[in-house]
Amino acid sequence: MWRVQLGGGARRSESRSDFMLLTITSTHRPATELGYLLAKHPDKCQTFSLAYGEAHVFYPVVTEERCTAALLLDFDPVGLVRGRRWGQHSEGTLAHYVNDRPYTASSFLSVAIAQVFGSAMKGVSKARQALADTPLALDVCLSAVPARGGERLLRGLFEPLGYRVDVQRIVLDEAFPEWGEGNCFELRLRADVRLADLLTHLYVLIPVLDDQKHYWVGDDEVDKLLDKGAEWLSVHPMREQITLRYLRHRRGLFRDALRRLMAGDDPVSEEREAEKEQEEEALERPMSLNDQRLGAVLAVLRDAGATRVLDLGCGEGKLVRVLLKEQSIAKVVGVDVSMGSLERARERLKLDRMPEIRRNKVELFQGSLTYRDNRFSDCDAACAIEVIEHIDASRLGAFERVLFEFATPPTVILTTPNVEYNGRFQSLPAGRFRHRDHRFEWTRREFQTWCTRIAERHGYAVRFLPIGVEDAEVGAPTQMAVFQR
């Protein structure tokens, strides 16, 4: 029992959750009654066969004052992996095989609880129904729980349900203290709670801690989980986060391919990417900078009388959506290097449900800003909104040529953060960029020098506009250049 292969998982993350040891301790006298509630005899060690391995139930401590039941999960990862074809869904990366999943708590625990303690979770006890209906002083220990949200997430999930939460972070490796602490915790929960409720809480919330997907349980399992938690979940302050964990999108073939390529490099998961975006958005949200940006772009495009617009680095299609509503624009071409972004753009724009006339206005395709591309030539305006800062400085020359020397649109709009303004963001640590993928952030002078040189070289006139409220000292949060020839 070491690696566990999970059907859809594959997203490498620091937090993984598969359980290994769960102990439930009762101090409700006589504590030995716990055996009746769980319907497992305290003097036996019982083994249950699960789809992906075994579960053992035994009792380390059995006294009148204190009784501890242990559920030990024993997975069979090799069996899981065998007979599967590489590349389907998820088995892409090495990360998948050496992982802490078997040693930590995860969705497998849910399966085991449901199967091994099924009647207890339903609150049914043949021998002690009254006790089953009574809140008991219970003490639960999980030997290793991963939680990327850290202690806050653990507390946020369990405290509203009345648990006293003790969390002990597990050191990554005492031989390398400089690596710091991981996101794996020893978790202890204490409460006066019905055993059935306790088990249900674990059943629903442990997989929530897990960063992984749950194809292995099948899609209908989602409904089941939500059903189990129905009553208390509806009033749980984190209910959205809890349910969202189960509503992830399926991924296409290329994403698996991409994931394999990214293995061994910095962990980049979709969620992480989305997170980065959110960080930047959150930073800029109070001033609704994005709206102002899109508005300014639209104004310039109207002014230029553009009818065929190229959105380079369109991401999830925010600008595309705005431009689609604009009657004077006949064609909107969205380009992004990330097929994942394009797919999300298609979903968000609801392209497949769009009326054909409107649908024909949009074209989305994968392209790169450092490769010359004939498809860029047929437009009268090109926008690269908050894009250049994602290109390595050494590749900017290639970007310049692709756009200004080969595609040569009559109008080009570029926007990029004004780094001088960063100090005005309270929550942004000094010296940090607004987005972790930013390769640089420029001062107004740097941006203007760069743009002016391009304009000279390629026969464009350039003007600069601020986006967002201008600060007398540091300027506006975003800077925009409009090139015209």
Binding site: M20, C45, W86, D173, G182, S368, R395, R401
Partner: protein, 848 residues
């Protein structure tokens, strides 16, 4: 009657219904060459005689014809074609594809045709139909030439039809059988003295006499003039006399330039402005005899606008030629050859802006041309302009083919002031070198890349999509990226014992593939690193075209910068450079740059994130969980006795988990600066002009050891030994060596045939197999893989896909290096490197 047809033409058969066109076509052409309107009617309507389907049928027919012509295939259109409306699209189609339209007319008596139709059940239409067609045909006979048909044959009786034979003629421009060697000389413009000087320099025996000049090469090399012999310069008649004589004697070939054509038009008495140096030529010709002038006229008239030579590997035209026009014949082709294409705009000197077709050129043939003076002849996408502006005071340049060497002589003086300053053009070109331009079409979609060692290799579309994202977002400047290392397969799987991999399996694989000697190299556990190191920044600019990015690069196996910290990278490169200098490699290899394949240690230097996010958490979580589980089990056991053997089992598991932690810890040590790094090179991949795959691995090890001796603390020698696979002792020694290595914590070893390229009974043999130690594999297969219940099943691993992948990536990697050292255009190198990256995204068991 012998009918001559150009080998590449669009042939219209013309004749009434029943005239026997289909029979004729069947007799004289391949079935696939003939497109029949009847057949196409059948294709779209299931009825060959359904006249209502005619329009669709012709759409299909023209579509297929267009595809065939684009591919350069002779095509015959079998339809009545008696009406001018039917023939128009044929001529248009031929012109669009720059092929010659030809017509073969079966002009038979209407009665005969009608009679034949009566014999056919499916052609029961009235006699008036054939009569009407017959009238139209007679009209056609008079207008075919006017309509644009360049070859017309008319067969007037069944006898003539029966007797007709068809001869396919080589196009004038087709000299594929001529393989050279050639000395291709740029625009001469009357610079007679320089021409003779250049010819001498090229080894020609020169008869220096303006009245009867001649030059011949003793070894039969031929000069090849790219046109513009005349105008502007001092001695146009002498140049003409020389070139005409050489062509006549078979010592030279020549294509016409726009100036030559303009001269001929003037001599023909046409109204031509005496500009751009024509006045000088006319004045010089006044001193010549009328006979000579006549000779000049007929010489220029005889010139063919461009040639395709050497089995299609060489194309010569005055102003160059884009790929779609190679070997074609049309007015457009001729125009392109003489003038190139212009964008319709003019530059600041009032000169037309030329469409730079060479930037977009992706053909396999080398194209050599002149026309536009350049300060120095340089390759761009397999094309080269050899007009170095001799008459403007530049130089006269020749390209030696197939050697691809440039030979120049400087102009004695500036004979004519340039309209556009040459230097300015140079500055402009240097600023925006076109060789750097990568096009999305070079990488996207399904691609087939040809490699010299393993033939064509396919890259699937979805893999290219993934590679494009990674390449665009994370990879280093593609101009540095001349190589990506291939993946490596492990040795065969050991069938018993506590290990999965063992040297014996590697030895067995190679011996079974006919390899007698292998090299075993210590496998370092760090991160793969490829280093490109230049002698100085100037080399980076000149050879790689990369200014301001230091003297080289260090990148990972997926083409990313090895370090986020640029200063660490440059410190490391600087030390490598010093080592190369101290080991005298620059002089020894006559190279200003090197590409090294290496392992950079410690593992934790690059894999810090991975260790922190993956390996360490596994250890931490597993040790925590194991301890908790074991103590719970022990408590239970103390209460109820035996717990189904679980105590022992978990004790064994805890042992595994401890060993796992020990395994990864060995490859980690803290890095605070360059002094904590170790760089262990194992391939000296390439240097100027050479990919060192022709040297065996022992040479690489020894050569790199010399480098390491000069490398201070950074460079780390790799231990190795040569093993004779026909000797039991030799193998046993190597196995013992491997055991010692792995027992002391080493990752294991890599086993390679001594030679880089070995072919066995099934083609290319694996270039290397890794043989990893038992403890190391815990990092790969998980802490507890050694437990019997797991290892028995892990032995079922399949190596096939990994090995196929390794060979394909190996071939692409070497191909990339070869292309780089051969100075092929960037896109040709990049497609291979991109291919490796794309293949890396193929689904293969990542534990292998």
């Amino acid at each position: 009657m012998k009918i001559e047809l150009p080998e590449l033409s669009l042939v219209a058969l013309i004749g009434t219904s029943g005239s026997g066109k289909s029979t004729f076509a069947k007799t004289h052409f391949k079935p696939t060459e003939v497109l029949s309107s009847d057949y196409c009617r059948g294709l779209v309507s299931d009825d060959e005689n359904d006249q209502s389907a005619t329009k669709d049928a012709f759409d299909v027919l023209h579509y297929i014809a267009a595809k065939r012509l684009a591919a350069g295939r002779l095509t015959v259109i079998d339809a009545t074609n008696v009406q001018v409306e039917a023939r128009k699209p044929i001529v248009k189609l031929a012109r669009e594809h720059d092929v010659l339209p030809a017509a073969i007319v079966l002009n038979l008596p209407a009665e005969l045709c009608q009679e034949r139709n009566l014999d056919r059940a499916d052609r029961q239409f009235g006699a008036h139909v054939v009569r009407q067609q017959s009238q139209q045909l007679r009209k056609a006979l008079r207008s075919l030439k006017r309509e644009g048909f360049r070859y017309i044959a008319v067969l007037n009786s069944p006898e003539e039809v029966a007797a007709a034979t068809i001869v396919r003629k080589r196009l004038w421009n087709n000299k594929r059988h001529e393989t050279g060697p050639f000395d291709i000389i740029g625009d001469v413009h009357g610079c007679f003295d320089e021409t003779l000087a250049l010819l001498s320099k090229l080894g020609y025996e020169v008869h220096d006499d303006e009245a009867a000049p001649m030059a011949k090469h003793p070894e039969g090399r031929r000069a090849f003039f790219v046109g513009d012999l005349v105008d502007r310069g001092p001695k146009s008649p002498a140049v003409l006399r020389l070139v005409m004589g050489m062509v006549r004697e078979g010592a030279a070939l020549c294509v016409p330039g726009n100036h030559d054509i303009k001269l001929k038009r003037k001599l023909d008495g046409r109204d031509v402005h005496l500009t751009h140096g024509l006045a000088e030529t006319m004045e010089q010709l006044e001193r010549e005899s009328p006979d000579f002038v006549e000779e000049v006229k007929s010489f220029i008239d005889s010139l063919v606008s461009h040639y395709v030579l050497d089995h299609g590997k060489l194309v010569v035209a005055h102003a160059g030629m884009k790929e779609s026009l190679h070997g074609r014949a049309s007015a457009r082709v001729r125009r392109f050859a003489l003038y190139g294409e212009t964008t319709g705009e003019t530059d600041e000197y009032g000169l037309p802006i030329r469409y730079n077709w060479a930037v977009d050129y992706r053909g396999m043939a080398r194209v050599v041309y002149g026309h536009t003076p350049v300060p120095c002849a340089e390759w761009l996408n397999k094309t080269i302009c050899v007009d170095t502006g001799c008459v403007f005071g530049g130089a006269l340049t020749a390209l030696r083919y197939p050697e691809n060497e440039l030979v120049s002589v400087a102009a004695a003086k500036m004979y004519y002031p340039p309209v556009r300053p040459l230097e300015g053009a140079a500055a402009k070109a240097a600023e925006r070198p076109y060789n750097d331009v990568l096009d999305i079409d070079d990488v996207l979609g399904k691609r087939i890349i040809s490699t010299r060692i393993r033939g064509p290799i396919t890259v699937r579309e979805e893999n290219a999509v993934a590679a494009l994202e990674v390449m665009s977002r994370f990879a280093i400047d593609p101009r540095w990226l001349m190589y990506l290392p291939p993946t490596m397969s492990p040795s065969g799987t050991r069938k018993e014992g506590p290990t999965l991999e063992h040297p014996e399996e590697s030895f067995h694989y190679f011996r079974a593939n006919g390899v007698a000697k292998v090299v075993c190299q210590e496998k370092h556990m760090g991160s793969r690193a490829v280093a490109v190191v230049c002698r100085d920044e100037e080399v980076a600019v000149k050879r790689f075209g990369i200014p301001g990015q230091g003297i080289g690069t260090l990148y990972t196996r997926t083409g990313r910068p090895f370090f986020d910290d640029r200063s660490l990278e440059s410190a490391l490169l600087d030390r490598l450079r010093t080592a190369l200098t101290n080991a005298d490699f620059w002089e020894r290899f006559k190279s200003d740059w090197f590409c090294l394949d290496a392992e950079l240690m410690p593992w934790s230097a690059k894999a810090q994130a991975l260790l922190k996010s993956q390996y360490a958490p596994v250890g931490a979580a597993s040790r925590a969980s194991m301890a908790a589980a074991l103590s719970a089990l022990q408590l239970a056991a103390s209460r109820v006795g035996e717990v189904e053997g679980l105590v022992d089992r978990y004790a064994a598991r805890r042992d595994c988990v401890e060993k796992y932690t020990d395994a990864y810890r060995r490859y980690c040590w803290p890095v605070s600066g360059i002094d904590d790094l170790k760089f262990a090179p194992f391939h000296l991949l390439a240097s100027e002009g050479r990919v060192h795959a022709d040297q065996d691995h022992v040479w690489h090890m020894k050569t790199l050891a010399e480098l390491c001796d000069q490398g201070g603390r950074l460079l780390h020698k790799t231990a190795f030994r040569v093993v004779d696979l026909t000797s039991i002792e030799s193998q046993a020694e190597a196995t013992a060596w491997w055991e010692a290595l792995t027992e002391s914590g080493g990752e294991g070893m890599v086993v390679k045939p001594v030679e880089w390229l070995m072919r066995g009974k099934k083609g290319l043999v694996q270039p290397a197999l890794k043989c990893r130690g038992k403890e190391y594999l815990r990092i790969i297969y998980g802490p507890e893989y050694t437990l019997e219940e797991h290892i028995v099943r892990l032995r079922g691993r399949s190596l096939g896909p990994k090995r196929s992948l390794a060979l394909r990536e190996f071939a692409l990697g070497l191909e990339a290096l070869q292309r780089f050292v051969e100075r092929e255009p960037l896109y040709r190198v990049h497609e291979c490197v991109f291919g490796v990256l794309a293949l890396e995204s193929e689904p293969v068991d990542p534990r292998l």
